[in-house]
């Protein structure tokens, strides 16, 4: 997993690239702390650069959802493509998160 964090208005944007898999667990956890530390009202996860995610990656997004909820932040998943979009679709994550394409 590669990432960088930007802001858009009051929202914090987490741009993920390469892949999101089981091995990213610890790093993702750290990234989450960083993302939520400014207590943003909204967290946008941008998947434009992410080309692969496995079932463990889904688990990481669930952790994000739980921690964001605890911190009072709304989570938006943005621009999933290809295999990542298919994986989110398989798990019907559109019913758990807002998913947008911009």
């Amino acid at each position: 997993m590669q990432y960088n964090i930007t802001t858009e208005g009051t929202a914090t944007v987490l741009h993920l690239s390469e892949q999101l898999v089981d091995a990213d667990r610890a790093a993702f956890d750290t990234v989450l702390s960083r993302v939520l530390s400014s207590r943003p009202p909204r967290v946008i996860v941008d998947f434009s650069g992410l080309h692969y995610m496995d079932s463990a990656g889904l688990g990481l997004l669930l952790t994000l959802r739980e921690r964001a909820r605890a911190a009072g932040a709304e989570v938006v998943l943005r621009n999933p493509t290809g295999a990542v979009r298919d994986m989110l679709q398989l798990a019907r994550f559109d019913t758990l998160f807002s998913v947008v394409n911009a």
Partner: protein, 607 residues
């Protein structure tokens, strides 16, 4: 030093490197990354003294970790820089070599984040203390070199540390002795006079409350009058220090060398360190409240620059060396042999504990297999419904997170399911046991796949932690209406294949995984499943595990396996023939648990 501690992370594997750096980030450290030994050494030569700790991978191309370690320990400026090495598990010889070469600690891969963090913090603290101690030695050196005998008393750790630097300066090799001396002084206060037990110290360190507790006890009526007495005596061939505290003593035998039980603790090395590095002999007396440390004065022929009274600056002297080629009588060599022997004992303990664990795991594994369908039940179903059922169940570690099953409902219907808990290993396996007891709780819903998964989802959501969830497919085969009605929770799509033409139809596996939220409703879907067809259910390992050429099959690949196997083997096709091209090429060990369940309806509808 000001600013945050700096760590140098050296690993040729990009992912490991970033993972380690990520952990150090959590501690607020500044990290510098190097991808091999050459690069690491360039950085160390240029700015080595700016670092507080080095995380060093043992095996790397070009210059390997041992070479880097040897260069660090041979460099007067860097020799006290703590190096934490990482090595593959089970490479005992590498650990022995590393300890000989001066590694501060060994981590075995895969590295546990909590261990990494506590060891790194301990290393950085040690380094800061060494820096202080050595600067102290330098200041004290000139005055005390002529000391013959003396008696000293102190109460606080700070006074003990000051006295250690002062007395070390009066000893044959101050740089070598100061570390062990400081450890012994500290022990006399902490564990002797102030009666802090080993376990209490572990706990206090974990809570970062050690300093506070020390201060509290130093002022407590029970302890505040206690003193540590240090007697210093110089003879022509040795310096003898006798350190006595007023505590109750302790079982010092446990601490003279590294104890297998403590090998992964972040403290408790002081006495072993004093014994193996700083002194020639270390002897505890009585109930353990008195220790006698002896340092041999080198004969003239052995004199190094440090003995050169007053002339040579102590801090930039020759490296504190551990000569290894001076024959069997060499005390350094004896200490190394002793450390090595101890590590061999440690290895034996670890092996015994591994054997116990292996026996437990074998029992658990058997229990997990007992969760799978009973052959007698399968036989009845096969007879009654004109079926041929085959399965493949392979876990990626000792225990797995997959489960599958079949159950008869009535004369013309039976249910089948596959469940895959997130992750693998023991945590996932425990969830399969939980689920198995749950499957029978809703007999009234067995014939209704959507409802069945919905109620199962509610039960699991109340039990599972956030990152634990399950993907599942639950189906009911009706041999009268020739259908498979099913519901899915993020499962690979069920595949139905025509045994004559090889044509494969995929269902829809989408659905929210089980256990995330309660109140998710699953829909029932339907596929035609007449005689002369088979249904294949499988876990995502079949889609996702990498094959030798680094690609994974994906859904179209699995469909291809099925149609090719039917084309080659006809109506009698076996599950192992379907899976062979995958099983022959997949990288082992598997990265996830693999389950495949194939159920064939015989063409004539009977056996």
């Amino acid at each position: 030093m000001s600013g945050p501690p700096r760590g140098l992370v050296v690993d040729d594997n990009r992912i490991s490197r970033q993972l380690l750096a990520g952990h150090l980030d959590v501690l607020g450290y500044e990290t510098v990354l190097a991808s091999d030994g050459d690069e690491a050494w360039d950085i160390l030569e240029r700015e080595g003294t700016s670092f507080d700790v080095v995380l060093l991978d043992r095996r790397m191309p070009r210059m390997d970790g041992m070479e880097v370690l040897a260069r660090i320990k041979a460099s007067p400026h860097l020799q006290t820089l703590p190096v934490i090495m990482q090595t593959a598990a089970d490479s005992q010889q590498e650990i022995i070599d590393g300890i000989r070469a001066g590694a501060f600690y060994y981590l075995t891969k895969p590295v546990q984040p909590e261990v990494l963090l506590s060891v790194t913090a301990a290393a950085v603290e040690h380094h800061a203390r060494f820096r202080q101690l050595r600067q102290g030695v330098h200041r004290q050196a000139a005055a005390l070199r002529q000391l013959q005998t003396g008696l000293f008393r102190f109460k606080s750790p700070r006074d003990g540390s000051d006295l250690a630097t002062a007395l070390a300066a009066a000893m044959p090799d101050p740089q070598r002795h100061v570390i062990g001396l400081a450890e012994l002084m500290m022990n006399a206060v902490e564990h002797g006079n102030l009666a802090i037990t080993y376990e209490e110290k572990t706990d206090l360190l974990a809570r970062r409350a050690l300093d506070t507790e020390l201060n509290t006890r130093l002022n407590h009526p029970d302890y505040r009058d206690r003193e540590v007495t240090v007697a210093f005596e110089r003879t022509p061939d040795r310096v003898v220090l006798t350190i006595t505290d007023e505590g109750a003593g302790f079982d010092w035998r446990r601490y003279l060398e590294m104890d297998a039980k403590r090998v992964f603790d972040t403290h408790g090395r002081g006495i072993a360190l004093a014994q193996s590095i700083s002194f020639d002999t270390l002897e505890y007396r009585g109930r353990g409240n008195q220790v006698v440390a002896t340092a041999r004065v080198p004969r003239d022929s052995e004199l190094g620059p440090n003995r050169d009274a007053g002339a040579a600056p102590l801090v930039s002297g020759a490296p504190a060396s551990l000569p290894t080629h001076q024959g069997a009588e060499d005390p350094d060599r004896r200490r190394l042999v002793s450390v090595q022997t101890h590590l061999i004992h440690t290895q034996a303990d670890l092996r015994a504990s591994q054997q116990r664990l292996a026996a437990d795991l074998a029992a658990a594994r058997q229990m997990q297999h007992d969760l799978l369908p009973d052959p007698a039940v399968l036989d009845t179903l096969q007879q009654r419904h004109g079926l041929r059922v085959a399965s493949h169940f392979e876990t990626s570690s000792e225990l797995g997170g997959d489960l599958f099953g079949l159950r008869g409902i009535d004369e013309h219907r039976f249910a089948l399911w596959t469940v895959d808990f997130a992750g693998h290993g023991i945590a996932a396996a425990l969830n399969t046991f939980r689920l198995h007891t749950m499957l029978d709780e809703f007999p009234e819903w067995m014939n209704y796949p959507g409802e069945y998964l919905s109620v199962l989802g509610v039960r699991l959501a109340s039990l599972l932690a956030t990152e634990q969830y399950a993907t599942a497919l639950y189906g009911v085969v009706d041999t009268q209406s020739d259908t498979l009605r099913y519901a899915a929770a993020a499962s690979p799509a069920p595949l139905i294949a025509n045994l004559r033409t090889g044509e494969v139809t995929a269902g829809d596996g989408s659905g929210v995984p089980l256990g995330i939220d309660s109140g998710i409703l699953y829909e029932t879907r339907e596929l035609a499943f007449p005689p002369g067809h088979l249904v294949l259910l499988f876990s995502d390992a079949l889609l996702e595990c990498r094959l030798g050429d680094r690609t994974a099959l994906g859904e179209s690949g699995v469909r291809g396996l099925l149609s090719e196997a039917i084309a080659r083997h006809g109506e009698g096709v076996l599950l192992e023939q379907v899976l062979a091209p995958f099983l022959d090429r997949v990288d082992r060990p598997l990265t996830d648990d693999l389950t495949a369940l194939m159920c064939v309806r015989r063409p004539d509808g009977t056996d």
